[in-house]
């Protein structure tokens, strides 16, 4: 399968197989007006298989969301057909309004205006806990 390179925009590379769809949905990429390619199970020398997302516009992306879903993603910023900036993401310290606390006893279950904020408490194991009740994110 051949997909032409993009001239301007962003390429999310080295996405773990299966995470591409989640990133696509969470970032609501289907709502963009530009061309977006979601490639699943592409061949990778490093990973065996990987997902890739190509966005043919230089849009603002919430990198914390991507880093939370998949801390191994590489973000390539493309301008005039060349990669002008490359970022290797890490799990962010805080994740805001991406996941909701599932603890029914958490204050966020009743106070609707509160932001759902999760804090990284164990980088090695990728554990996030609710800022309010400290329940583990599921």
């Amino acid at each position: 399968m051949i997909l032409s390179p993009i001239d301007n925009g962003i390429v999310l590379d080295h996405i773990k197989p299966g995470n591409g769809f989640e990133i696509y949905n969470t970032l609501k990429l289907s709502e963009l007006n530009c061309q977006v390619a979601l490639i699943l199970n592409a061949q990778s020398i490093k990973m065996g298989r990987k997902d890739i997302i190509k966005i043919a516009e230089p849009i603002d992306l919430d990198l914390d969301v991507i880093g939370y879903i998949d801390p191994g993603v590489t973000v390539n910023f493309v301008k005039d057909g060349k990669v002008v900036k490359r970022m290797h993401l890490e799990a962010p310290e805080l994740v805001k309004d991406v996941i909701k606390c599932k603890n029914p006893r958490c204050i966020t279950s009743t106070e609707q205006e509160l932001r759902h904020i999760f804090k990284l408490t164990d980088r090695e194991k990728g554990v996030y806990r609710c800022m309010y009740c400290e329940s583990k994110a599921k």
């Binding site: 603890n103 006893r105 204050i107 800022m131 309010y132 009740c133």
Partner: protein, 304 residues
């Protein structure tokens, strides 16, 4: 401005300082009788409590201050659907410091984001109860003269008991403490407490299912209530409930200087016959709670 939501917000030096002040209050109460003159404590109890609310109120009165507040959500605008944020914004216009208990976990943390005055977490669901932990630490310090070098047994409901988790995490910062976790399999300490506190801090601990097998080793026995509603079936509850009732007979093999603690209320997990045993310290613990809350109120109000 400082609040207290989680015991771990205090350094061990600050905890030691609070316990020293509490001990000084016990020895010289008159020295402190006007320390908070003209100050007001609001006690906002969105769910019932006997000891915690009354000890906060007694603490403020003994410091020469005044108290306002409510003892149940039904007697506040919370019953009309007012948010915690709005209640706190309002009350912090009237009081100099707020002690709050709320059934929802994290509610006191939300309060700190909106308050003009210090917030003390007086219990939020099954989450934190830092002033109970300060009470426990003061009792241990007074009974043992130190906060290190002892074996403590936690007995009963170690899964849902917030006081147990807080005390384990507070004690994990002191040296040479061994912990024995005594509970049925259904009520064992949660994995995250073991992984994120005990294992990370290298605390020596072991889990057992009966009190008898470890009684002789303990310097401190921290009892908690085994609650029937926590069991999935009644047969398991009936099988286990008596195992964790402390009786004078079970204390035969205990050390002569054992200190028996309980956060209270108790139902039947400590037989009333144990109350007369000099090793029973749970009512001393209640009294200590008032003094350590006096020390905490003074610290957060920056009164010297």
């Amino acid at each position: 401005m400082r609040s207290l939501i989680d015991i771990l917000e205090l350094t061990t030096d600050e905890i030691n300082e609070l316990l020293d002040v509490a001990n000084d209050i016990i020895d010289n109460p008159s020295k402190y009788s006007e320390k908070c003159h003209g100050k007001k404590l609001a006690t906002l109890f969105f769910e019932p409590s006997t000891r915690t609310r009354l000890s906060f109120e007694a603490a403020m009165y003994e410091l020469g201050g005044n108290v306002l507040g409510f003892s149940e959500a039904q007697s506040s605008s919370s019953a009309k659907g007012e948010s915690v944020s709005d209640t706190i914004r309002t009350v912090s216009c009237y009081a100099d410091i707020i002690a709050m208990r709320h059934p929802k976990e994290g509610a006191p943390y939300v309060a700190t984001m909106k308050s003009r005055v210090p917030i003390i977490n007086a219990g939020d669901g099954g989450h934190n109860h830092p002033t109970q932990t300060l009470t426990d630490l003061l009792t241990i310090k007074r009974e043992k003269g130190r906060l290190n070098g002892f074996t403590i047994g936690f007995c009963g409901d170690l899964k849902f008991g917030r006081t147990v988790h807080s005390l384990i995490s507070a004690l994990s910062r002191y040296e040479n403490i061994k912990m024995v976790l005594i509970s049925p399999d259904e009520l064992k300490v949660p994995e995250y407490v073991k992984e994120e506190i005990l294992d990370k801090k290298g605390i020596e601990y072991r889990e057992v299912t009966t009190l008898d097998e470890v009684m002789g080793e303990l310097d401190i026995l921290y009892m908690t209530r085994v609650q029937k509603e926590r069991f999935f079936n009644e047969a398991d509850y009936l099988r286990l409930k008596d195992t964790y009732i402390l009786t004078p007979e079970k204390l035969n093999s205990a050390k002569s200087d054992l200190a028996i603690l309980h956060p209270l209320p108790r139902v039947n997990e400590i037989s009333v016959a144990v109350d007369d045993d000099p090793r029973a310290k749970y009512f001393d613990q209640v009294l200590n709670g008032k003094y350590v809350r006096m020390a905490l109120i003074m610290k957060l109000l920056e009164v010297r």
